[in-house]
């Protein structure tokens, strides 16, 4: 096709179309319209649809794609295409592979073989959606003859609700997300906000900025949960913020000059001073006095209605609500941060007022911002911050490959210490150029051959981790996380586990949000009841979960019989249960983080874990004759071979010749026999590890 023809088409179809394909190209104008101009000054409105063989594909209204020679485009359009092309996941994946292959060649390490289709389908579902694929999903992929089926599946899964769930689990470990704390703080709105942010693919810098600048109560601004989570511990919160988002460990400097690093105690306090006005309680004498009076008034009214009210007043749930209402994030312009009384260095007096100053990067002009806190948030999340994008890129790499390019993730001194510094530098730039679109960033990684290779059969050794010496011939061999294991059990047991979505934030907000001066004794009773209804009895004795599901889930419940609960635990995805699950829960015994510390989940083995697998109720659930796996593997698809279908359901592969023989020797052809097979397969190491 030549330019003339295109020109002719331009003349005939001058239509305005929406410029929508480029989900990754935040640099494209928001209205999506684009006029293309060629070297002769002719114009056409069209969508960019990728580049192939030196030609730019222009998608005309009506869907026709016209490959247009790149060099025939105007200089401006060439620059536009060049930028988009570089940011496309295909190009980024190629660049990643380039850096990795170069390193492997340099070190004389052979890359791992590519994953087989069976290995790929299992891994991609586990990594992106947090569970093994279902029987049908496995077959759909294995039987597809589409040459581009891997990338198409990656795209589809990144847009699925499973991606939200799996990303939430990852964030929950990093941000120490909890549903409630022992003093009855309920963080449901905050948790919901995190999920919504993932679902709408909020840019990562925006996400962090919103947490750091949140104002109000948990139900006014859910992102305030980030600070309220650590209420009363502003300095500890700061240490965590700096290590999680800036890959820098300054904890020691809270109390004294850091013994091994450059940070001084003064550095720490100067940084903390940005947040020196931040409060997490509605304090002040007047406020306290008003609260006390109102409480007494309400208690008196309550006693009039019900003389049997306990002597110390409010019913517990209502008392808790009052306390929760007292907490909000705000800035008190009167407040200043002072050095501690035992400050022992010569550069300042103890208890002297500290002026905000950043520890690296550009100095901040406070006058340009509404509050010092906003200035801090802007500095921390800026593209110019030398550590923010770098730290995020390294974290996302670890999420995909099981090991950071720099370890430890939370203490990066020098990018040159990283395994493959050029790659890390490229990833940092890529994340910035993508305007912190983490989904696009992950897409590029998942597209790469490097990620699609088989996991390494050895290592990394401690020495490799210590010296950042693992050259990434493939991803690290991972044990399923607690969440992946739990969610995979559900995939085998429940028709649509994703239907059970936690739906607590809204009703809870309605019950909790009030102004204490406007609440009568009568209303306080109503609210207490309302709360008890929502939370059930479960929340106070820490039972497995709140059984509060979406309407869709309730409908499904009625349709399919009682599938939401087994052995006292709700059969909902890990992301929809109480955060974290209570001690003793399957999830906790498999290493779900207790959420006390950042990145505290564990893949260490233990005897209780094995007991859950061989004797626990959830394995029993799978082998009951009425379990889902028997229904789905009854032979309606595949080759009608029940044994084969069980392999496809659990290990997502066909049985090999010898295995068939083993099974037919061991199995009687009845449900008990197949139950043994199911039991045996979920107890294999092959099931537990991601190849």
């Amino acid at each position: 096709m030549n330019t003339k023809t295109v020109g002719g088409e331009v003349a005939s179809i001058l239509l305005v179309i929406t410029f929508s394909v480029l989900s990754f190209a935040s640099s494209v104008s928001a209205d999506g319209l684009r006029m293309w101009t060629d070297v002769q000054g002719r114009q056409v409105e069209a969508e960019y649809a990728g580049v192939s063989a030196g030609r730019v594909n222009l998608k005309l209204p009506g869907g026709k794609i016209v490959p247009f020679p790149y060099e025939q485009l105007s200089a401006e359009d060439q620059a536009f295409v060049k930028k988009l092309y570089q940011l496309s996941p295909e190009t980024a994946a190629t660049r990643i592979d380039g850096f990795i292959n170069q390193q492997l060649a340099k070190e004389g390490v052979a890359p791992n073989p590519m994953t087989t289709p069976e290995q790929f389908v299992r891994r991609v579902y586990l990594e992106i959606t947090g569970t093994i694929p279902t029987f049908d999903q496995t077959l759909d992929f294995l039987e597809s003859e589409d040459a581009d089926k891997r990338r198409k599946l990656i795209d589809a899964l990144l847009d699925s609700e499973g991606f939200v769930s799996q990303s939430f689990n990852w964030q929950a470990d990093m941000l120490r997300l909890v549903s409630q704390t022992n003093d009855f703080f309920i963080y449901e709105t905050y948790l919901q906000w995190v999920k919504d942010s993932i679902r709408e693919n909020k840019p990562y810098d925006r996400f962090v900025y919103e947490m750091l600048t949140a104002e109000g109560r948990l139900w006014d601004d859910p992102a305030s949960g980030y600070f309220i989570r650590d209420r009363g511990m502003p300095l500890g919160n700061l240490s965590t913020t700096v290590s999680v988002f800036l890959g820098t460990e300054i904890t020691c400097a809270e109390c004294h000059d850091h013994p091994f690093e450059d940070w001084t105690q003064k550095d720490f306090y100067q940084l903390a001073a940005f947040l020196g006005q931040r409060q997490d309680r509605s304090y002040g004498k007047e406020f306290g006095e008003e609260q006390r009076k109102e409480r007494e008034r309400i208690e008196a009214e309550q006693r009039k209605i019900d003389p049997s009210m306990p002597a110390d007043g409010f019913l517990q749930p209502f008392r808790n609500v009052v306390t929760a209402n007292n907490h909000r994030v705000w800035d008190d312009a009167e407040k200043v941060l002072k050095l501690p009384h035992d400050y022992r260095y010569d550069d300042a007096e103890p208890e002297s007022v500290v002026t905000p100053k950043t520890i690296f990067g550009d100095p901040v002009d406070l006058s340009a911002y509404e509050t010092p806190r906003v200035a801090f948030a802007s500095w921390l999340t800026a593209k110019e911050n030398p550590m923010f994008a770098l730290t995020a890129a390294n974290r996302l790499w670890k999420r995909a490959f099981g090991l950071g390019l720099h370890e430890p993730m939370d203490n990066i001194h020098d990018i040159e210490d990283a395994q493959n510094p050029e790659l890390l530098a490229y990833l940092e730039t890529l994340l910035k150029d993508l305007n912190f679109d983490t989904k696009e960033f992950l897409r590029a990684i998942y597209y790469s051959d490097a990620w699609q290779r088989q996991a390494s059969l050895e290592g990394p050794t401690l020495v490799q981790i210590d010296g950042n010496k693992y050259p990434f011939p493939g991803p690290v061999l991972k044990r399923m996380t607690a969440e992946q294991l739990w969610d995979s059990f559900l995939t085998l047991a429940v028709p649509d586990p994703m239907a059970y979505r936690r739906d607590v934030a809204k009703p809870l907000t309605e019950a909790i949000r009030f102004n204490i001066t406007e609440v009568s004794g009568e209303e306080s009773f109503e609210r207490t009841k309302q709360l008890q209804d929502i939370l059930g009895k479960t929340i106070r004795n820490g039972a497995p979960s709140l059984g509060v599901w979406t309407k869709e889930a309730m409908a499904l419940e009625e349709e399919s019989g009682n599938m939401s609960k087994f052995a006292g635990a709700y059969l909902a995805r890990a992301s929809e249960l109480s955060q974290p699950a209570p001690p003793g829960h399957f999830l906790r015994s498999w290493g779900q983080s207790d959420r006390n510390l950042v990145d505290n989940s564990s893949d260490n083995g233990s005897i209780p874990q094995i007991l859950t697998m061989i004797n626990g109720p959830f394995t029993q659930m799978l082998i009951k004759p009425d379990s889902l796996i028997f229904k789905t593997t009854g032979g309606q698809r595949g080759r009608g071979d029940k044994m084969e279908n069980i392999f496809l359901s659990i290990l997502n592969r066909y049985p090999q010749g010898k295995e068939k023989a083993i099974c037919s020797r061991a199995l009687r052809n009845d449900e008990e026999g197949y139950g043994d097979l199911i039991w045996a397969l979920v107890n294999t190491r092959e099931f537990l590890f991601i190849r």
Binding site: A666, T684, F689
Partner: protein, 447 residues
């Protein structure tokens, strides 16, 4: 090397599994429980204790409201009062009256000192003696004891943690066989011990043994190609955990974990809460032959409302620990069981704006009883407000060296990590060309 695995390599693996699975019928593989079949050899140090129970208060227990009160200093004590203890002239905080009565058993160490006031770092150091490093995990005391002395009992785990948080360092860089067995909640004992609960009939046992054997054999056969190809240490570790589990299932010692055996009044006396029941479980386990038990009691991070929260937490500690000391003594176990009450740090004398106390690591208290410790004494001293030490500090490594010494561990015995770095039980230093311990036991403890 685990003796079972060694034999497994020689034996046909299938027969090995069969044997283990069938032993789940309740017949112990290697004889009766409580028998000390290994590890008496090679003891050094004082060897005044056969067992150790660590009661770990995580979050930072206020020393001022418990073991190191400052009577007559209301600005420090806030709402906390004092109570007379069995040590003349040395009152305790009124949050722990039962322990105060048993102070004749306690050596109270008031000169504890930590270099960090960060929870994660400080609890890690309290459990391992070492500072936290991103590239290695150091073993905790129970694992060290098993490593240096050998396994104490054939079928029981050598060390058990009750209610420990996920981040517990466990066996550190030692291989998985040294891992403490975690019990999440003492109330539930070891979960999923059987699919039927604790009390199951002989017939059911027999049937289930057969089923388990059949299934495990199938797993072994079907998983063989994967294990052959993926010889990753993490995979091998899981295979080892399966073996350990089956071995454990085959032992009669399981009963030790079932608190339903205890009378209600006993269980009430320890306190019907995770920690109290954990103390009761610890007593049973020690009696049964477990060497090291850690019971964790969390939530001491009282930045807010210290004078409401600390008394509640301390009451739980008081009931559990006091009952434990009392029963260990009554059953003749206290003389050979060292009980240690520890916390990662203390809390500030200054009461903050939220009626709370903040982290305070440069002066705090721990306490030791039994297993060779001389009771009824105060070791070390803090200043008039409990803010700074007025005697030479004891760090976590000294407290750990004390436990190790009592258990008969050689403090200078060097164990190399997989990466080839030398370590000793309670931190090490270079002495000329030799690596030796960098900690000494707290002498006064032993009187």
């Amino acid at each position: 090397m685990n003796p079972y695995l060694k034999s497994a390599n020689e034996m046909n693996r299938r027969r090995f599994i069969e044997k283990l699975a069938k032993s789940a019928l309740g017949v112990s593989v290697l004889g009766a429980s409580g028998m000390e079949s290994f590890g008496q050899a090679g003891k050094s140090g004082a060897a005044t204790a056969d067992h150790c129970i660590l009661l770990m208060m995580t979050g930072g227990m206020s020393h001022l409201d418990t073991f190191d009160p400052k009577p007559g200093k209301p600005e420090v004590m806030g709402k906390t009062g004092v109570v007379k203890s069995a040590i003349t002239g040395e009152p305790f905080g009124d949050t722990i009256p039962l322990l105060a009565k048993q102070a004749d058993k306690l050596a109270v160490i008031r000169n504890m000192y930590q270099r960090t006031a960060d929870h994660r770092q400080a609890t890690y150091t309290m459990r391992t003696s070492y500072s936290m490093r991103p590239t290695i995990v150091h073993p905790s005391m129970g694992a060290w004891a098993q490593r240096l002395l050998g396994k104490k009992n054939a079928t029981l785990p050598d060390s058990v943690t009750v209610g420990a948080e996920v981040g517990h360092p466990g066996q550190g860089f030692f291989s998985p066989e040294f891992s403490p067995m975690p019990v999440g909640s003492a109330d539930k004992g070891v979960q999923n011990m059987t699919p039927f609960g604790y009390n199951w009939s002989d017939q059911k046992k027999a049937e289930y043994g057969e089923i388990l054997t059949r299934r495990l054999e199938l797993t072994e056969a079907l998983d063989a190609p994967f294990r052959e190809e993926v010889k990753h240490e993490k995979v091998a570790a899981y295979t080892q955990f399966y073996d350990e589990t089956l071995k454990f299932l085959g032992s009669e010692d399981l009963k030790l974990f079932d608190l339903n055996d205890e009378k209600d009044e006993v269980r009430d006396r320890y306190g019907r809460n995770g920690f109290g029941q954990g103390c009761l479980l610890a007593k049973r386990l020690v009696k049964g032959g477990v060497r090291f038990v850690e019971v964790t009691h969390g939530g001491w991070d009282t930045h807010v409302d210290n004078f409401e929260t600390t008394p509640e937490l301390a009451n739980v500690l008081d009931m559990g620990a006091a009952s434990l000391l009392q029963d260990l003594e009554a059953e003749g176990l206290l003389s050979r069981t060292m009980v240690v009450i520890a916390s990662e740090f203390g809390r500030t004398p200054k009461i903050n704006g939220n009626s709370g106390r903040d982290h305070h690591s440069i002066a705090f208290s721990c306490a030791v009883a039994g297993g060779g410790a001389k009771g009824g004494q105060i070791i070390g001293k803090s200043d008039a407000i409990g803010e700074r030490l007025e005697s030479e500090p004891n760090e976590p490594k000294e407290l750990n060296a004390t436990m190790a010494h009592a258990l008969g561990l050689n403090l200078n015995e060097v164990i190399f990590s997989p990466s080839g770095r030398p370590f000793t039980v309670a931190t090490h230093k270079q002495d000329g060309s030799e690596v030796v311990s960098d900690a000494t036991p707290i002498k006064e403890v032993f009187g």
